[in-house]
Amino acid sequence: MGMLSYYFRKSLTVCKDEVLVLPSRVAVGVFVVTILVLPLFSQSPYLLRILILSSIFAIFAASWDLLSGFTGQMNFGHALFFGVGAYSAALLNIHGHLPPWASIPLGALGAVLTGLIVGIPCLRLRGTYLALTTLAFPVILLGIIFAVPDITGGELGLSGLSRLTGSRLWDYYLTSVIMLVSCAVMWKITDSNTGIIFHAIREDELAVRASGINTIRYKLLAFSLGGFFAGISGGLYAHFMRIAGPSTLEVSMSFTVVIWAVFGGIVTIYGPVGAVFILFPLLEFLRFWPEYRTLAFALVILLILLYMPEGLFPYLRDKLETQCPRCKIRNVAKRKTCRICAAPLN
């Protein structure tokens, strides 16, 4: 009992000293709690469906940020990993009769393999050349899928997959917990020593090599990690929608993920996640005015990019928080002195 109260008090202290001091951390905390308690207030299947799809696409958008934002390997064909994840899970489920808990991770491993296959020829390419090459891969896979309709279902795709869980509510909890865990893992990776090397590769690859780092290994690692998380989201999508179709590999899918990431702010992980939770429900909401839907959507994105070129969330963060000029710790904007080193903030 004493132990329990010790940990309780300790977590309260951490909460007070580390979380409540910064608006961005409070916002993340509120987001997590809201996601977890929301079904207590409403269990409308339509709402849950939107949130489930948002969670799935949030993993997808964050995985693009990990590969293209952090490591600078501009990938305009990220739908490839999503599609491979979805199709692998579907094939394993329908032909291999594997349950979702096995087919989704195996599908993600399929996406990792694809990441390596795509990554190896892309190692020599940079910038625009890399972007254009990656754009081609999902289109190639789409061609293969149409070529063997007996296995892949051709244009109709593979349908009739088993459900994720028995009910919509459990689907919701499963996807949102996987989303929260995946994003936390991705954030932790970018915050680690590996993350520093990813950043450095984006800045200047030659200088990283001259520092004694095997850049090939790290770039392939970035492709595999990006592929893994995108594959997980693809598998979840296939099992939730109970279909894996060619739409998962479409060019629009690859570009949507770039729009989400740029809207929310790249090189953040939390930016793309937040962006999906704003833009995906917004697009659903605009369904009420179908003729203006895409136009309004484009307008929102253009306005954000015009006034907040770094993305929505970094902009808000910079408004609410300032960095201490001395110790570089972030503080609430209204503070006069740094909360750690007491240097004046101006």
């Binding site: 520093i196 450095a200 800045e203 030659l206 990283v208 780092i213 570089k328």
Partner: protein, 255 residues
């Protein structure tokens, strides 16, 4: 005379029709500091890039501690103990200065060596302290002045604990006072210090430089390149009086 440390033999590199390095041979000992000079376009930087594996030679061998390293990957060469700095500094501009050095500290060679109980950050801080910019560790690299960027390059190179350090124009773009300071640091580095445990005697160096006055004070030997070939190799006194060297630098009338 070939030595066990670094021996370059018959090294050549062409860029299209241009012969950047033609049949260059030299060798150096473990404790030497060599100055590599020559007019612009003589092939000095190309020679350094061939040794570090950034460029692949067309022919010839580079033996480092009895292993042929010609054409090996840059990171393998750095792993064997050769580090280099870049003439046009290449910092990771959007990263804090300490993170710039941490990348080097995360290389397999640096992870294996040095005081293993120390954290990567502490090791990086040591290198920054040695280079004299530890007070700015948390600033972004883009905020640094030219002189400090040169120091960052040096910090990044020594963080891998090299046995051979290749410095490409360490005084380039520095004020006289900054040059003086940098020259002192380089001397101190060669003498060795508390940085690193295994190479307390300091790395051997090849320094490419145009500021000859400062260079003369540091180096024990000078190699002169012109049009990709070695035209002189000897002590600083011999080289500055060499007729061919004066001709290469000042033209026919200067002799």
């Amino acid at each position: 005379m070939p030595t066990d440390f670094l021996t370059v033999e018959g090294l050549s590199k062409d860029f299209g029709g241009l012969r950047a390095i033609g049949n260059v041979s030299f060798s150096m000992g473990r404790n030497e500091v060599i100055g590599l000079i020559g007019p612009n376009g003589a092939g000095k930087t190309t020679l350094l890039r061939l040794i570090t594996g950034i460029l692949k030679p067309d022919s010839g061998t580079i033996r480092f501690k009895n292993t042929d390293i010609a054409g090996k990957k840059t990171w393998d060469i750095v792993g064997m103990g050769i580090a280099c700095t870049f003439q046009n500094m290449r910092p990771f501009r959007r990263l804090p200065i300490i993170a710039n050095v941490m990348v080097s500290c995360l290389s397999p060679r640096a992870m294996k060596r040095g005081e293993w109980v120390k954290k990567v950050e502490a090791k990086a801080m040591d290198a920054l302290e040695f280079a004299g910019i530890s007070d700015m560790a948390l600033e972004k690299a883009s905020t640094l002045s030219q002189g400090d960027l040169k120091r960052l390059e040096v910090a990044r190179a020594i963080a891998t604990e090299p046995e051979l350090l290749l410095l490409d124009e360490p005084f380039g773009g520095l004020s006289p006072a900054e040059t003086e300071l940098m020259a002192k640091s380089i001397k101190r580095l060669h003498k060795g210090g508390r940085f690193g445990r295994l190479h307390s005697e300091g790395p051997a160096m090849i320094i490419v430089e145009h500021k000859l006055q400062q260079l003369m004070k540091i180096v024990t030997r000078i190699i002169v390149l012109d049009f990709g070939t070695v035209i002189a190799d000897g002590t600083p006194e011999d080289v500055v009086n060499d007729r061919q060297v004066i001709k290469a630098y000042l033209g026919q009338g200067g002799v």
